[in-house]
Symmetry: C2
Subunit: 411 residues, 2 copies
């Protein structure tokens, strides 16, 4: 079963907006066993939209369209779909009631321009939009499906999840597809692939493996396709357990887990607290931790000690230690972790000190050199890393690495 995604909007073709909708939709379609044949972005012009619809119809069974459903005159998708299906717009009372109640929930009155959004092509089935005013539209023609949705990401996502994907699964008897993503930290893609080479080779042919790297993290995604969902789920479970035995030290989570959320959950469950003392990461670890709702329960705060005088004055790092070893050293980063733990009266502390770059590197401590220390209730330990040349990625990798070192302490 194949689909084409057509995204409509001049803003895509002038590069004003990056089309993130298509990748998300492609992922979701793949998850239910629909391959995406092509992604096409076209302008808000009738002839161009009509051509892309006819072209797609020749190639695939499912055509997913987003964009061009706004209430203003430059949005012409609806009229163009009428022309494509040789039909007309009709006022849909049910859709109008939904628009009315949407406006009511915002304490607003429906304007004429929004009332017109209840007009839909006569041959379509309207799809409820719980997050906005433009309804989605579901068309069937010669056993092919055409779906039109708004381009606003959260409106589109809600429609896909609540209506479109279930309807597609129901309409086509799709083969079962199961996914499992294993999240690893602390090992590069190529080293990882060497360690798990035998396991990878022995995977059954109906399971595909993808390596998805990002700074500090490699995600391994297994995709199994077949007829029986239970068989797939059991095999994926078995293979995940094999992998856990091969690389137990590198796995920190599964699927959509976020390291900062995992750490937060562990701390919350144990009723424990944390603080950070950050030099090279400049507050990014604190930002990751506090991006999680409810983090105030376990996160007390940080001292960001970019200047050495703050390291000594506020954190009580020994001046002589800095002079003797430099600020980027095991000695200093350990003192930072111990002292912030005591100062903030927390159970765990993270400390970082490194050369983020692009300047500040020396022969002994090139750009990327980073010391990370973790203090627990009784002890402190530190580890040295040599990341790369890029400041942004160094900050990200140091932060992710530090959070994972902490996680291993809490478990």
């Amino acid at each position: 079963m194949q689909a084409e995604i057509i995204t409509i909007g001049d803003e895509l073709l002038i590069g004003q907006v990056v089309d993130t909708n298509s990748a998300w939709m492609a992922q979701q379609l793949n998850l239910v066993g629909i391959d995406v044949y092509q992604i096409t972005s076209v302008s808000d012009q009738k002839q161009h939209i009509l051509k892309s619809l006819s072209d797609a119809e020749q190639e695939v069974d499912i055509i997913i369209i987003t964009g061009g459903l706004g209430p203003t005159n430059d949005d012409i998708t609806k009229k163009t779909l009428c022309e494509f299906f040789n039909t007309t717009l009709v006022f849909n009372e049910n859709t109008y009631q939904k628009i009315q109640s949407f406006f009511k929930s915002l304490n607003l009155k429906v304007t004429e321009i929004n009332k017109a959004q209840a007009e839909i092509p006569a041959n379509c089935e309207p799809i409820t939009n719980n997050c906005g005013t433009a309804p989605g539209m579901w068309f069937e023609k010669n056993n092919k499906i055409f779906v039109s949705m708004p381009g606003v990401p959260f409106e589109m996502k809600q429609m896909m999840e609540e209506s479109i994907l279930p309807k597609l699964k129901n309409k086509f008897k799709l083969s079962a597809v199961c996914h499992k993503t294993i999240l690893t930290q602390g090992i590069g893609e190529s080293f990882l692939s060497e360690i798990i080479a035998n396991w990878e080779k022995a995977l059954p042919s109906y399971i595909k493996l993808a390596y998805l790297p990002s700074p500090g993290i490699v995600r391994l995604r297994m995709t199994a396709k077949g007829n029986d969902e239970n068989t797939l789920l059991n095999e994926i479970k078995k293979q995940t357990e094999f992998l856990q035995q091969i690389i137990p030290d590198y796995i920190y989570g599964y699927d959509n887990d976020r390291l900062e959320a995992i750490v937060g959950k562990l701390l919350k469950n144990k009723n424990e607290t944390i603080a950070t003392a950050e030099s090279c990461t400049g507050g990014y670890i604190a930002h990751l931790i506090t991006s999680i709702p409810g983090s105030s329960v376990y996160f007390k705060g940080s001292v960001i000690c970019y200047a050495n005088e703050i390291k000594t004055k506020l954190l009580g790092v020994n001046k002589e230690s800095i002079i003797a070893n430099g600020a980027v050293s095991e000695e200093v980063v350990k003192q930072m972790a111990l002292n912030i733990r005591n100062l903030f009266n927390v159970d765990y502390a993270i400390a970082t000190s490194g050369v983020a770059g692009p300047d500040g590197g020396t022969e002994n401590k090139p750009v990327g050199t980073t010391w990370i220390a973790i203090a627990n209730k009784t002890d402190v330990f530190a580890k040295k890393f040599t990341f790369g040349e890029n400041r942004e990625r160094n900050i990200q990798r140091a932060s992710i690495t530090a959070l994972n070192m902490l996680r291993k302490q809490i478990v």
Copy 2:
């Protein structure tokens, strides 16, 4: 003059990678006066690539292709282009030398598989790749241009900027295009459009205006097209000056300026320093400031005081003030700013305290309520904001707003 962008790669169609290349290329092409007619993402399959090339050839003058140039077997763009142009691969000595020197710079020997990357279609002009091994390729056929580049973003960008865009400008006598982006902070899109409505209406017809909003910021982009570049530049300059007179309080920069870099430059020039005391922003302001290379010259550090006990113990905020007014209050945020300024011995300080959400809101202080204080050498002032429901956006908006309040103090 119209172009189509064709991006090749299975990773795009399974949604593993968001196609950010296309938006960037579309922007660059627009900047030199080339409209993008369509963006098409296709799989690594010969027939599909061939079809997309023939389709594009019917519609546009310039076809820009990225992806599928890696050294492994799944990358088939080069062979497919040979078939499309009815030609064969030939070994290009000059290209091979460039690959050799690239490997030499990494202290590596050229492998057989990389040597094969010096084979290019006989009818193409190779385009030097200074950042990788796969050369770009420039084809001309019936006065139409086909360009093939690697999909790796920084390799593609380097080729576009150094070779492709200059060659396209040279090949087609393109009409002049000038752009100017005015960066505003502290006013929403709709209010801004009301204030500048008369100015916008009076713009000459050859200048188009686009509103580009992101959390806390609205960018206004003027695009002028015409025959004479000087006329356009003068008109854009004049219109920018008009705008400066209408909304002087909201403009903080131009084009690719970043607020954290502007603030950093101002501090550096005046040889002054800064620190932050962050509650609701959780270190995000410090992260933005330290994302700028060289920020250690003016940024001394921060105290992130998520817990009230840290506000009192480390920052010396009066306990009674917190009990009487709550932590999210003018009184507390002003104390935070003054005390961090004195503690860190800096010229300026930012302090934030707010309800980031999704929990913690009350009737008097709903989610989004945020106090921001700025201390300068002699004084402190604070302002209350009511942002929205979304935690991530609240943190971003509070941070951007705080940086802009600081900027106005330094100027």
